[in-house]
Symmetry: C2
């Protein structure tokens, strides 16, 4: 009897894919851009049978699987992309990012393990080290013959890494550094590749020479011998089970009198002479620290990209499911879930978000490549987009899970892994809240630089008030009654105005707190945290809106421009809708305009719904990577 | 060398607990209320060593563990609380809810397994069956000698359960029902206790007698023999790995010519005579269906409660961690994370939320007990609070996880389980979006009943406009310039006005669509989904604000009233802040009032911070249940 049920047709109803005026493949070609070849190479690897999603429940086995995957990718020569040109690499950040993005369709743990190995370990040696280190370590790192990690975070210091406790004392007699973990809380923690696989670590420690502390520096430190046993003086613990990313072997490390030769200081920004004199082009410890940290900005870009890639998978699953699932309704068939206004209002803004961040991250990478000089701008931009993108991705994945109901809760349908793996992206490579404060501080710093030219101080203060007035006047003119909310210039005007106003206000408040009330900067920044977070959000939103509008304006084909234009309208107005309270309470927007924004969003959601399946098909996520049976076919 | 690190002091810094004017124990006594004894009984069980959180990774083992836990609880006699008085139960819903709430501190899977066994299986027999069924099944169910489940959801029908495909045909010759699953999609799915343990199921199926379909009815159907093997004609599959709740054995079931005697129809609302005549007091299939479904409202109350209980655990962990963790800052010590305005703005509203839902659910249970007659009101209230509470809990758990940074990502610190287990609460016992539409439809139904008395139709329509005007006039008077945002009456006025206005507007729109545009109700409801969801949210918020204000007003002690009054202010103004765009764009609020709301929220967050640790200590969550090392000590 029981086998009879096997005769049931178990196939899902077809995903409804009416032609809506453009071919997904054409849009995919546009999104893939010039790196279609390397994207396809990565896809050809991660769709091999042995790359099927891990389905076991033993994390040790999962870790071994991920290591095998990592080696396969290195064997295919993809690690070489991360090398500097003199060692055979291509030094093409956009290509590297194309690899990361494509890998993000597959497995979060592999992505992070690879990011640790090539990006953090290899990347920090490349960015903080010099030729000696490059030649010694990078080829092995790229080939995964030398596995390493990035040992910065400590138990006691996750965000405030300038206050790390690990100490490296220079011993001029032996010309080496003695590395010590003076306390429990000085133990390195959450270090990828530490618990099992890593042989070497780039260790961040306070550099002491005699009585002087020169601040945090990076050292290459072996932690395991050739048999995988911890070296004498090195204590390693497994961080244990995590919420997600359990294919990555995170661990804790303490050092006791671990000695490394003087050559193992990554000395691009600072050097110690044999006899123990400290030399650096950058005189202030503080500036040097931020210069070093600043070079690690690529990790944040990668997080933004990976989070968005995982959001793409989620949106693809949710929209395809809604385009085949029917529930309620009185016709011959029940109503397609995607046809409900509630579904459209729920999912279409998420689709707009993933497109927006796609363009924003691509633009960020271009800016990073083209003008490596303006470090502060890049740093702020990367921080803002990383925070905005990862928070948005978490929201996206969750809403997509819910919109797939009980099916979305099944492990096989992928949300379990996507949610769990992406979660920590809001924390690592810089906690989002901390990053957003960095963004705001950078913006205030730039404002201060502008105002400096306006001395004396009273003129500067007057200038802030005047600028606020002028800004408002111009904005109110631009957005006068007859202006269309669907004009890109109008949309941008709202986001720019909000950002500039918040900046000038925060600048004014900071001035009052520090000059009139005598607060130190730290206290003033702390007091202003809510305002600074709002400012940073406004900045990030403006950047993403700008990127989206630029991308649409630059699209070659009219047939593709139409659906993307609708998406960018939706993105802009959906995020503007969140802030209508602010515009209204300040008298920056009439009530009827605010009401119109909401009507536009609802209507745009209906319109985008027509293109929705084609728009997710254009991501080109391979079936095996997407995995979810509810979204295939 | 390696063991040297063991000499490090691994203890966390103390959680800072300055006395802030009240004893957490006093507040806990107030929260625990009259059911402190049963709460303590449950705590004494779930803090036994064998109830330590499951830490394995094998879900089969986890399921076995949960079954052992369940039996331990039944052996302690707690299952008896679910029985009707004539079978030795206490029929005290508040006591039952006290048990559920306390259990929610322990393990999500146990909670759900217990809810399936006592609440859904036992509860549906109690609510839909009659004395024969009660005597036959309930004692065994309460003692866990008879394990069962609630087989309603099918692969093809999760939300629209009125359209279930399973069929029960009455065979008058044999006086039994023949149950069949006619298709793949008619298979029951996500059924707790189905994959392994359940012996019986309450199966929902379309009752066919001859050519007539009398709609969905419930039948008690055995699915396994005494050896745990599926009975002939019953096909069972394991639903497999889920995002969470992996200690519950969810499964799929198909029936092929499964016969059950006529007695096994749960016949409280309908009966079939031996010769096949159908009899029911409720004439319409539709009304009968909703009456049957309506009796299952306790499950939704339980979900609201459990979600909030899990949010309490999260908030406790996050606040205690922030009260011991220091990061950044220039003094002798770094700054306590809880002292940052950003942390306060992030966590304090979540603390207000969990208190608010505590009172809201307690009030809901009281209303349910006191007036079982107004079924529609209870149903709407339970649906609204379930949706609002579970969505809020998911948000709360996520923000708490993030605020604990990398430590929050460690499995041992509990967010992994809390997030994963609570996630599905937004879906089961009614998808939140569907429930919110039910809420709105009920409200529109009530409005229609009122308007009916105002016939003819044109008068009714006029009346809506007049009522909107009168409403606005009274509201604007109430909230005139000098009124304080900290007055409970004021706060309530905002929420009531918003709800009433949205209701009257939606009612007017519905009328226009159905009367002037000739739409059928289903299409009109569908078109108005965004408006209806907004209305339902407004209703749920008003209910919760009201509950909080009532609870505070009824507090005996001044020392406790002070901190809770601040929390209720924060709750009301934090949620009002979300809607200031709506009040402003409609001209219902001056801009300066909206700005004042935000200032109040920021200040209240600072003030509540002082009481925060005491407020979470008052939840009285046992250390072993809370689990998270970062939050103990």
């Amino acid at each position: 009897m029981q086998s009879d049920k096997l005769t049931f047709d178990r196939s899902y109803p077809p995903i409804e894919r009416p032609f809506t005026g453009f071919e997904p493949a054409a849009l995919q070609a546009f999104l893939d851009g010039e790196f279609v070849e390397v994207r396809n190479q990565v896809k050809s690897i991660i769709t091999r049978p042995e790359f099927r999603h891990f389905e076991g429940n033993d994390r040790h086995e999962y870790r071994r699987q991920v290591l095998v995957w990592l080696r396969t990718i290195a064997d295919a020569g993809l690690g070489r992309l991360f090398l500097p040109p003199e060692l055979g690499g291509e030094a093409d950040l956009r290509k590297v990012m194309a690899v990361f993005e494509t890998l993000s369709f597959h497995d979060g743990s592999l992505l992070i393990k690879l990011g640790v190995q090539f990006g953090l370990f290899g990347g920090s040696i490349q960015q903080l080290g010099t030729e000696y280190h490059h030649r010694k370590y990078l080829p092995g790192a790229a080939a995964c013959q030398l596995l390493g990690g990035f040992a910065m975070t400590e138990i006691g210091h996750g965000s405030n890494v300038q206050a790390l406790e690990t100490i490296a004392v220079y011993d001029s007699e032996h010309r080496d550094f003695i590395i010590n973990s003076p306390s429990y809380t000085s133990g390195k923690t959450f270090i990828g590749n530490a618990a099992v696989d890593g042989q070497l670590m780039v260790v961040f420690a306070q550099l002491h020479i005699g009585a002087a502390n020169h601040g945090v520096h990076a050292f290459v430190v072996p932690i395991r011998d050739e048999n995988g046993q911890p070296l004498p003086g090195v204590t390693i613990e497994d961080n244990g089970l995590k919420l997600g990313l359990n294919g990555v072997d995170n661990g804790r490390i303490w050092f006791q009198n671990t000695r490394v030769p003087k050559t193992e200081l990554l000395n691009r920004f600072a050097e110690v002479t044999d006899d123990g004199r400290y030399r650096s082009e950058i005189k202030s410890n503080n500036s040097r620290f931020f210069t070093m940290i600043g070079t690690l900005v690529n990790g944040r870009i990668t997080m933004a990209l990976a989070a968005n890639s995982m959001a793409k998978s989620s949106v693809t699953i949710a929209i395809r499911y809604a385009a085949r699932r029917r529930q309620f309704g009185g016709g011959i068939q029940e109503t397609l879930v995607l046809d409900y206004p509630a579904t459209q209002r729920r999912l279409m803004p998420l689709l707009a978000n993933v497109y927006a961040f796609d363009f924003a991250v691509k633009r960020l990478v271009r800016i990073r490549e083209q003008s490596p000089s303006s470090a502060r701008t890049i740093e702020g931009l990367a921080a803002g987009i990383k925070a905005f993108s990862t928070w948005t991705a978490m929201h996206t994945i969750q809403v997509c899970r819910e919109s797939c109901g009980g099916d979305g809760y099944m492990f096989v349908n992928r949300f379990a892994a996507l949610k769990a793996d992406a979660d920590i992206f809001t924390t690592f490579e810089g906690d989002n809240t901390v990053l957003m404060q960095l963004v705001a501080k950078n913006l205030l710093g730039e404002l201060k630089d502008q105002l400096k030219e306006m001395n004396p101080a009273r003129i500067a203060r007057f200038f802030v008030d005047q600028r606020l007035k002028a800004l408002r006047k111009r904005f109110m003119g631009l957005t006068a009654a007859s202006a269309s909310l669907l004009s890109p210039e109008q949309q941008l005007a709202y986001f720019r105005f909000r950002e500039s106003t918040l900046l000038l206000r925060a600048g004014g408040q900071f001035r009052r707190l520090t000059r009139q009330k005598g607060m130190d900067s730290y206290s003033a920044f702390t007091r202003l945290q809510p305002e600074l977070l709002e400012l940073a959000e406004a900045y990030a939103e403006r950047q993403v809106v700008e990127s989206f509008l630029e991308a649409v304006a630059g699209m070659p084909e009219q047939t593709l421009q139409r659906p993307l234009r609708k998406l960018s309208d939706l993105f802009a107005l959906y995020h503007l809708e969140k802030h209508k309270g602010w515009f209204l309470e300040n008298g920056f927007m009439p009530g009827r305009r605010a009401i119109a924004i909401t009507s536009h969003v609802t209507r745009l959601c209906q319109e985008v719904r027509q293109d929705a399946v084609a728009l997710v098909d254009a991501f080109g996520i391979p079936d095996q990577c997407l995995g979810a049976p509810i979204a295939l076919g």
